[in-house]
């Protein structure tokens, strides 16, 4: 598989997540957008026996691609050839039962313990900017066995403590904090993926474990308001392959609404990847 010569940063993040998709696991996909496209890419190339479930209860579809604009779920093409059609409650309850292995999420803000804010920036009881709320992410973050968070590598997004916990990470980071709050045992954040970096958690604290070849660890830490732990060896993320980006562009997000929506372009200049436009 040859390396891709030009791709957007958002495409890079989707390829990173696609490679995390595992056969025989269920993915509860929030909302659509990058989590859904990452799952579809992973299923297409690496894990054909991975299955996904949408918030409106579509179980294991074979969607009719490409999706219509803005309709990556709650439409006939996205629900097509499913094995079952349920509702938000059937999806939510099956997650409570432990049937959902992995949830993939987006967010505005994440903190050192993996808590997610999609509700309000600023002081909730005072001056703040309001956002849409958790949607399905709260249940995904609570009930899936693992969660993968996709976001951009921006200083304002990586904070010590989110202004509002919309969806739970490890809460205050103490052992058993989730269980004390009534959340299911053995669950919690697993990875954070940005176009530049991959993180895991060590003792429930965010830890940088890999960087994209076109940035340094220092670049990444400069885009963190609160510094994460850094692994002793920070791996280099394999860049997207030509095959991956071709599938993303030709089969999945053919209108480019998701992949082009953010991030700079990365170009192979013959020797190395450089950030371009």
């Amino acid at each position: 598989m040859s390396r891709a010569e030009a791709f957007s940063e958002r495409e890079a993040a989707m390829c990173t997540v696609a490679r995390m998709v595992e056969d025989g696991k269920t993915y509860w996909v929030a909302g659509g957008g990058t989590p859904l496209y990452s799952t579809l890419l992973g299923k297409r190339l690496y894990a054909p026996m991975a299955q996904y479930i949408t918030e409106d209860g579509v179980v294991a579809p074979e969607p009719s691609l490409p999706f219509e604009p803005m309709m990556t779920m709650v439409a006939s093409r996205s629900a097509h050839r499913a094995l079952a059609w349920g509702t938000m409650n059937s999806a939510g309850l099956d997650a409570q039962l432990g049937f959902m292995d992995v949830g993939i999420l987006n967010t505005l803000q994440v903190d050192q313990h993996g808590n997610i804010n999609s509700t309000a920036l600023g002081e909730y009881d005072g001056d703040h900017r309001r956002f849409g709320g958790p949607g399905g992410a709260d249940t995904i973050a609570a009930c899936c066995w693992r969660t993968i968070l996709m976001t951009d590598q921006q200083k304002r997004k990586f904070v010590r403590q989110v202004d509002f916990i919309s969806s739970p990470g490890y809460l205050d980071g103490s052992p058993g904090a989730r269980e004390r709050a009534g959340l299911p045992r053995g669950t919690g954040p697993w990875r954070v993926v940005t176009p530049w970096a991959t993180y895991d958690y060590l003792d429930r604290r965010l830890r940088l474990i890999a960087h994209a070849p076109w940035v340094t660890v220092e670049d990444i830490l400069n885009e963190c308001e609160w510094l994460p732990l850094v692994a002793d060896e920070v791996a280099v993320i394999d860049p997207p392959t030509e095959e991956e980006v071709q599938i993303l562009r030709a089969e999945l997000d053919v209108r480019g609404q998701t992949t082009d929506a953010a991030g700079e372009w990365i170009i192979w200049d013959g020797e190395r990847y450089v950030r371009g436009t």
């Binding site: 803005m70 006939s76 409650n89 900017r129 309001r130 739970p168």
Partner: protein, 333 residues
């Protein structure tokens, strides 16, 4: 083999959210059902105007699903705007642009939040105190509706604990009566009124929904007043031919409105696709804070949804949307 609980101790309430919530009154709801829900096979077919006039009151808690996206009750929502209802409290789960539209139209000022686009007018309302938001999530709101549809006052849930939303909600963290473990419970929701768009219904309200959904059955069973809008009115004979397809039984339903293309500009899967340009137009209107102009263009000039479809959309476009919806498998059983 029994669990190790000690049954006679008191159960501690470990934490309690401070948010206001629609009052929990299961016996009051039962009495409403007894006194107001018609268990006869009496025709309930009426116009959207009559249905909204009779069954949506100022101050009501309103439940609906997915408007402007999939099988939303848009014809009824628009009629609510035309009738200038006031101070509605919205069940804002799995919503999209419609919360901003209803706030901008001056009909809603309180929202239980699962998800909605917090457009400028909502932001402004929160800042100046004219709009109140209570915090939940999509699933928590649908489970609150499910509790309401089960006739019980609360349900234990496995999410929502530990969030800031919990603090601003009606949830409680109690000791589980069986395991003693900390367990989140949420209050049942019995909305005053639910509006539900379905594929088919008979004149009594026996309703069929094809495809996925959010909480349409729960909303119908949990709500004091229920208005169904249907793409197609079908014979009761047809309902009786396959009772397994009935999603909502007639006795939960107060009004049935015939509403072909009732979900426009959203999709009714298997029937017609979204009008993407029209959806983008409302999206842009809420983003650019021009909801008033949108309403003056799309809603208030018309007496009915059908009139709007005729004047603003036209036959060619409607047929095109039907034609675009090439997937029919599963929606015409």
């Amino acid at each position: 083999m029994t669990s190790v609980d000690s049954p006679h101790r008191a159960l501690k309430v470990l934490e309690a959210g401070e948010g206001a919530f629609h009052p929990v009154d299961v016996d009051g709801f039962r009495e409403w059902v007894r006194d107001h829900k018609d268990r006869s096979l009496t025709p309930r077919l009426m116009t959207e105007r009559e249905a909204v006039e009779r069954f949506v009151d100022d101050g009501d808690y309103l439940a609906y699903d997915c408007n402007y996206i999939m099988r939303g009750p848009n014809s009824l929502l628009n009629e609510i705007i035309r009738q200038k209802k006031k101070e509605l409290w919205l069940c804002g789960k799995f919503t999209y642009v419609d919360v901003s539209l209803l706030v901008g139209a001056g009909v809603a000022n309180r929202i239980d939040c699962g998800f909605f686009i917090a457009a400028p007018n909502v932001q402004r309302g929160v800042r100046d105190g004219s709009v109140t938001i209570h915090e939940y999530s999509n699933v928590i709101m649908t489970l609150r509706l499910r509790a309401g549809a089960m006739g019980v006052s609360f349900l234990p849930v496995r999410s929502f604990g530990g969030t800031t939303g919990f603090v601003h909600s009606g949830a409680r963290l109690i000791e589980d009566p069986y395991t003693g473990d900390p367990t989140v419970v949420v209050p049942a929701l019995n909305p005053d009124v639910a509006i539900v768009h379905v594929n088919q219904a008979d004149i009594y309200g026996n309703a069929r929904v094809f495809g996925t959904g959010i909480a349409h059955v729960e909303s119908a069973l949990a709500s004091r007043k229920v208005i169904i809008s249907a793409e197609e009115i079908i014979d009761t004979e047809e309902i009786r031919r396959n009772p397994g397809l009935t999603s909502i039984p007639y006795y939960a339903v107060d009004a049935v409105v015939e509403a072909p293309h009732g979900a426009y500009p959203g999709t009714c899967p298997g029937y017609y696709s979204s009008d993407s340009a029209a959806v983008m137009e409302i999206f842009q209107a809420i983003r650019s804070d021009t909801v008033g102009e949108y309403i003056e263009k799309w809603i208030t000039p018309f007496e009915t949804h059908a009139e709007m479809l005729h004047a603003r959309v036209g036959v060619a476009k409607l047929l095109e949307l039907r034609s675009q919806e090439s997937i029919r498998e599963g929606y015409h059983p």
